[in-house]
Each structure stands twice: as C-alpha cells, then as structure tokens.
Symmetry: C2
Subunit: 204 residues, 2 copies
C-alpha cells in the first residue's frame, strides 16, 4: 500500500502530476497550533489552506486595492505546500522563525522539482509572490492567512496566544497587513485585541 | 467558547461574512469514506476540497475543452459546502443517493442564507454549476472530484471499493466524466480498474 502501488501511465508528465497529487496529501499531517473552532483538535495545513481560499471569495469589498480574488484563492491553495518538508513554523516562536526562510527554500526545491518544470515554476512563483507580500493579490491572500487564525483564536479562548504567552505587540505586528490593506476589517481585529487583553488571553 | 463569543463588528455584512467563515469550519468534521493516502484515517470535506482545488492547477492539458482553471478551482472550494448539513453521501450507496438532491437543496437554503444575499447567490450558483456538470469548468472540476478518490483508492488497497463491495460498472459509471472529458487520463484510470479487479478490490 502507498505510493509504491502507483501504476505508471506510461506518460512521464502524467505520472509526475499524479504522484505530486499523492505527495501533497501529506499536508493533512502538517499540524498548526490553531485549534478548529469546535476545539476538538489542532487544524492541519490542508484544512487551513482550504479555509482561507474560501475566504478570498468573501472579503474583496474591504480591500484598498483591486484584487483578483480567484488568483488570490489559488495562491492560498499553494501557499503552505513548502511546509510538507519544512514543517509549520509557529508565528509566535522567534527562534523557529530565524531559519524559516532557509528551510522553506530547501523544501520548495525538493517539492516543486517533482513536477514538470513549467508547472513547478508556476507553483513556486505563486508561493514566492505570496511570501513577498508586494502585489495586491498577495496582500489580500496574506490578510486571509492572518484573519482566519485570528478569528479561530477569538472563538477558542485565545488558544494560540495563551499557548505562546503572546503580547499585544506581537499580534499587532502579525496582523499589520490587515491594518494596512483592509482597515475596516482591522477595526474588528482591534476590538478583539482589546477584548483578548481584558480576558487575559493576551499580555499587554 | 465558540460562536457565542463572536464580538460584533457593528457592520451587519462583515458580521455575516465572519460568522459564515466560522460556520464552514464544520467541513473539517464531515468525514468521507476515502482514506488519506497514508491510511491513518478517513479524509474530511475540507481536506478533499483543498486537494481537488489544487489538482485544477495541474491537469488542464488533458481537457478536451478550454477550461478556466482558476474558476474550476473556486468551484472545487465550494462544491461540498452543502454537506455541512446534508452530510457526505457515499458514492456507492444507492439508497442514500435517492434523497441526496432534496437534502442538499435544503442544506443550501440554510447555509447560503447566512451570507449577504448577492454573495449567497454567488456561492449557490457555483455549487449548482458544479452539480449540473454542463459547462467545461464544471466538467473539469467534476473530473478532479472523481480522480482524487480514485487515486486514493489505488494507493490504499481499494479501500472504499472493498468497503462498498463495488462492481466495476459502478466505478466506470462514476468516472465516466473523466472518460468523456479527459480520455488520456482515463487510460490510466482504466488500467487501474483492471488492476483492481486482478487484486480483488473490485467485483467484475
């Protein structure tokens, strides 16, 4: 059982594509620190990626620049693939973030080389654009990537903030892209930060 | 904890959108019969939806008609949302499929009415287009929706076929959209059906 049971199609490209589909199923095993909203367990990268891709269809009206929401959605679909080999880096773990870029580059080299070259390049370019946060689509996708765990935290007693002993300033830094790109949504974020401090989920 | 902790933004639209995001997190609890490729557990609807949305970025070259892969991807993101209240209907359970359409319509009414009207309409139209399988984008999305569990079955000892005691004809009927829309990919499907019969995973 497993990938060794893969039956070749006799077409190298198709084999590469199908095996890549099998490989990325490992995203279901990359656990994040965020809890599901029902608090039953930690969410995984596949679930998170789906959730924020869906969010791309909902919040366009709050973006300060024109966004291609379908393009932002596919960016969300691929944005965490490199964690298959690099692992999830906890946003509030300073030490782990030091070598994050290097680990993720190595993972990208390994993962995207499984695909036919132009498709590997396409996936990598989407990830790099997301990561650089310079284009409107990437900023929008980044807002979804920050807003989703923020919403989960507000509905799970500040779970990851409490776990990390996080300070207000760390959350504000993490969510600054929302403040800049979707100020109307940030008003809600800001009110929830205040509430989290009042509840003791976040340190001042 | 939970949705009762939701802090109103003071903006009815934004509240509806954020609460919808929280509600659809329930997709992580809708279990399918398909196993993850590592066989550790059954996959859920959020994982499946993410997986097939990603596949939309890979198989365009085999489609007989011109496809908008980004549009097909967002169709995949929303295609199973109605299962939040209707549940997953096992493809090989004839009885459960009898009232599937009715259950899913009711679920769609309930779920999409949580959104601002024009957004609810947009989500519903994507789901209906997917379900009707008439447009090129919907046929392509449907191919991904069939090819993914097929691949999983080939790599997990025919898990759902064995569980259902499925016949070759049932699998062929289920995957006929691949045969019609992506004949080159279907050659690989067909070879795997032969192999599954040889292994005893499928009945003749």
């Amino acid at each position: 059982m497993g990938i060794q049971d893969f039956l070749s199609s006799g077409n190298i490209r198709l084999d590469q594509q199908l095996k890549f589909v099998a490989e990325v199923d490992k995203m279901t095993g990359v656990l994040r620190h965020t809890l599901l909203i029902d608090k039953s367990r930690r969410e995984n990268d596949a679930e998170h990626s789906w959730h924020i891709a869906l969010m791309c269809l909902l919040f366009e009206e709050y973006a300060l620049e024109k966004v291609d929401i379908k393009r932002a959605a596919i960016m969300c679909i691929v944005h965490d693939l490199i964690e298959i080999y690099a692992g999830d880096t906890f946003a509030f773990d300073k030490k782990a973030n030091e070598d994050k870029a290097e680990r993720e580059q190595k993972s990208a080299d390994k993962l995207f080389s499984l695909l036919p070259p132009e498709q590997g390049k396409f996936f990598r370019s989407l990830w790099e654009e997301f990561d650089a946060m310079q284009t409107a689509d990437a900023k929008y996708a980044a807002c979804m990537d920050r807003l989703q765990p923020f919403l989960h935290n507000t509905l799970t007693d500040g779970h990851t903030w409490v776990e990390a002993g996080a300070k207000r300033s760390a959350v504000e830094a993490r969510d600054s892209v929302i403040k800049e790109f979707m100020p109307q949504v940030y008003q809600w974020v800001d009110a929830n930060i205040e509430n989290a401090i009042k509840k003791g989920w976040l340190k001042v």
